[in-house]
Every structure is written in structure tokens, then in C-alpha cells.
Homo-oligomer: 86 residues x 4
């Protein structure tokens, strides 16, 4: 027996559609849980006196290698200096 | 007299850099003003009893032509029906 | 022996900071993996002929209960009709 | 003569709704134009050899006052040093 549903000349395999939808919903739920976990770690760090803004910058910088980071920093310092900001 | 600033073998035309930065800042300010205006129109519509959520959907739909809208609606109805949601 | 590092009158527990940072990085990695999994399921659904745009709408709608959905749909239809769009 | 449209016990002032929608659409168009202008200025700066990534950082930093910027920089340096990144 098929679970195909037809409407205005279109047909859809309802069971297969439902399976895809439910897989995505489970993954989105997991993703949400991890996002909440990340927020909790930041909250715990803050509770321990850490500056979460600086932490976020550190995490962003750690994704780059040392050379890339230094090059960017040098360019930024040049611009800051050109504009009289340092 | 030049306004070039050099740091670690790099040189930057400070005046030109400042001009670009200030042009962008003025444009960002204008953009911010318009974003605030949009919020105000929605608030005014809400104050007149309109449903701003439905309004947002309408605005999104008006960007599509009638045929595209109908095709999407038909597909959605097919899926809703396949999943027993309508 | 302490791992405290001091700079300009500030002190930071380096080991604790590193532990927080690394926990967050691991969680962000997991989150990235799940985001990729979600993309893959959509790609697989698309490969099986499903309309992923309609699927996304379905997933969004399934988060609301039937009554809420119907109310929103009625309001939207009213507006569409008022603007001659249906 | 009224332009009220009724559907399932709801009534909507069609003309007023249309006026709100069109005001928002005009504002969104203006906003889009300004966003495009900003992109163009960045492209022009890049064409003149400027580093747009550093420019974006500069623009972000200029929104803060000197004291705030220095405090953030000091905290970041402390963390970078604690993690052996500088």
C-alpha cells in the first residue's frame, strides 16, 4: 500500500517527507541544546569574573594562524595611527 | 605637503582613508535613520489595529509575482495535506 | 604553583581561562557539525525531488499549534484579499 | 464609500493597510539603495588599495570612546598573553 498523496496533479511520498522533516527537527533540537550549552559556559565564565567580550574576540582570533593575526594587527595599528586614534 | 603615514614599511594616505571612513559613517547613519523610520511605520500600523506579522508576510509576498506565489502556495498545501496538518 | 598572569594590575587565571575557551570551542565544533548535517538532510531531500523551501515553511509551521496557525492564516488571507492579491 | 473588506467576522481598512505597506516598501527601497552605496564606497576604497577589513574594524572602534577602547584592548592583551598568543 502506498502513502502517496496527490493534489492538483502533484504527488508526494508522505512517509518519506515526514521522515526528512523529523530528521531535521531532531537535528535542530540538538543544535538548540548546544547553543544553550555555549551560553551556559559563557555565563559560568562571567560568574567566575571573566570578560566574555574579550573571550569572544580570543575565540575568533584563535581560528587564524599567528602570521595572519599579526598582519591584521599591523594593518589596524597603521590605520589607527593614521587617524590619530592611538 | 603629504599626509602619508608610514609604519613598519607600510604607508597610508591618511586623508584619503579618513574621507572613505567618514563617507561610510554618514551612509550608515542614514541607513540607521531609515531603519528607525520603518520601525515607526510598523508601530503606527500596530497602533491603528493592524497585525504587523501579517503585514511582514504581505511585504515579502509582494516581492514575488502572482504565478510564483501560487506555485509556492500549492506546494505548501500539498505538503501540509501529506502531513495531515490541514 | 599558580598559573596566574598579571598585566597592568590585572590578573587572570590562565588555566581556567583556557579551559573555558576550549570548552566553548568544542561546543562550537559540535554545533558546526550539526549545521552541516542539517544541510545534508536538506540536500538529500532535494535529491529525492522534495521542495526544500516548502519543507522549511512546514518546519516553521509545525512549531505552532493548529489554532495559532489557522488564526495567522485567516489574518493573512484577509490582508491578501484586501490588497487584491487573491 | 468605504473600502472596508470583511472576511470571517474581521474587517480591514484596505486603503489604510495599502498606504502603510507602500510606505514601508518605499523605505525598504531607500535602505537597499544606501546599503548598495556603502558597498560601493568599500569597493572604491579597495580599488584604491585600502584594506577593507581593517576599515570595518576602525569604523566599529570609532563608535566607542578612547577610554572604553583602551580598556578593552588591555583586557584582550591580558588574555592573549595568558594564552601565550602574544
Amino acid at each position: 500500500m502506498s502513502d502517496e498523496i496527490t493534489e492538483s496533479s502533484q504527488t508526494v511520498a508522505a512517509g518519506q517527507l515526514r521522515a526528512f522533516i523529523e530528521r531535521i527537527e531532531r537535528l535542530e533540537e540538538e543544535k538548540k541544546t548546544i547553543s544553550d550549552d555555549i551560553k551556559e559556559v559563557f555565563a559560568e565564565a562571567k560568574g567566575n569574573g571573566f570578560d566574555t567580550k574579550a573571550m569572544r574576540t580570543i575565540i575568533r582570533l584563535r581560528k587564524k594562524d599567528q602570521a595572519e593575526r599579526e598582519e591584521e594587527e599591523a594593518m589596524l595599528d597603521l590605520y589607527l595611527s593614521a587617524l590619530g586614534m592611538i
